[in-house]
Amino acid sequence: MSNSQHLGRQIEFMPGNEVVAEAALAAGCRFFAGYPITPSSEIAHHISKRLPEVGGKFIQMEDEIAAMGAIIGASLCGLKVMTATSGPGFSLKQENIGFACMVEAPCVIVNVMRGGPSTGLPTQLGQSDIQQTRWGTHGDRPVIALAPAYLDEVYTETVRAFNLAERFRMPVFVLIDEVIGHLSERLEIPDPSELEIIDRVGPNVPPEEYIPYDSSQSDVPPMAAYFSGYRFHMTGLNHDRTGFPTTTQSICHSENVRSMRKVEDHIAEIEKFENYLTDDAEIGIITFGSSARAAIVAIDDARQRGVKVGMLRPLTLWPFPEQAAFELSKHCKTIIVPEANLGQLIYEVQRVTKGNSEVVGVNKVGGVPIYPGEVFDKIVECSGKK
């Protein structure tokens, strides 16, 4: 970035990956551990230069698994933390992501998605990890995943990812893709005074009275930091409020349900989406990230041809905006789901629209984004106006 002094709103021109790094710093991130992997590497590269300037620490770990472990450790020590990766690295991180869910460690995981499976397409686009983000690590746990499409949004949603992680004591995912990560465009960086910054709630009891999973006041237990005088135990095993393992069924059940409630009971606070010309739409489009930028051009073209088409664009892929999608399906005979994979988000759209609409995909893999013309052709086909 050309200017690291944020004075008022600034017009900047920088790649999406650097925007992620700058936003993380603005949100208070002071620890990053990672392992380089395209197309996410520029996040690590940029933040490795910037973190020391603000008193933070950067570690390049031996692999992605260790990087995930390192940010959990730093989080438990009280820092706001982030790692960044892409498909193959995201697969490796899954076990430790589960650990972060279990111990309720706030952290931000950025996945700059590429083509897969396996090492797939290292420098090219994919939106291939939508369902992995939801179901990649085993067990039931709440998931928050944000999917910005424009670089202004990459900034604000990365800040929001930190806020949600801190607010709910859980991992939060930022899902961008190669197109957004490598794209440089004009963006406005908000003044720091415009940003809402949320910090985790600390204990309001002395160390000897501290119970690490005390949920008597809130489903989000107050969180102490290691090396601050508070002693507590963390484990990936099911545990009771003391943090020590238990196999008592009723406790395991109620603690797991509590963790789910952190998201389920706060949907309105978490969920974010944008409706574009949906009021009178007879054909709906539901898509996200770089694919939404193709869809919006297609919608404008189709509207000029008299086709009533509109778009619901979730900024939170998880939790998915169920109610908004259901409302759209009430007046759309068809819903089109463009995504740079062979059909992942479409399952969620089918589930939540409950058969109201025919749901069809526009799917493409191989490293090239979906083009407006491809979405337009599908709109025209579905409208019957050839």
Binding site: F13, S290, I296
Partner: protein, 181 residues
Amino acid sequence: MQDHYEARFAAVGGQGILLAGDILAEAAINYEGLYALDSPTYTAQVRGGPTKVDVIIDKNRILFTRTTAIDFMLCLAQRSWDRFGYDLKSDCIVLIDPFLVHTVDRNYRVYELPLIELTKKEMKKMVYTSAVALGAMVGLTEIFKPESVVKALLKKAPKGTEEANEKAFKLGYNSGRELLK
């Protein structure tokens, strides 16, 4: 400039072409009051692999991120033409180095400038190739005032190289102007 403009710079990794794309886009945003974005494409091998950067410039906010109708293409390697010589408008201006690119579709408005030789001879250092190429592009297309691009170039140039970069740009710019005669 027209309302919407698309440019593609194609080369092999290491020739500085991605930076040239950034400079053109920054000139548009910071000194011409326009919207711009650029998207690089490169292979896993950073040096020597075919590389391109697409720059889109528009009077309004740009939604779709990729080029679909290219107005100008710079090409500095035959295999980059073979791989990236698509999506060009029928009247696209194509600027090639004739020592590096031999086979192009001559139905486009093809201009030849020995950029590498020119840089070697006048600048002594190959690192200025991209500044020369950028100058040639601006001279040939007159997309912006040259001063706008020079300002963006100098903002990006490493300390101590400002004078040489400006000289390289002007060398390219004048050569580009000559091609139009």
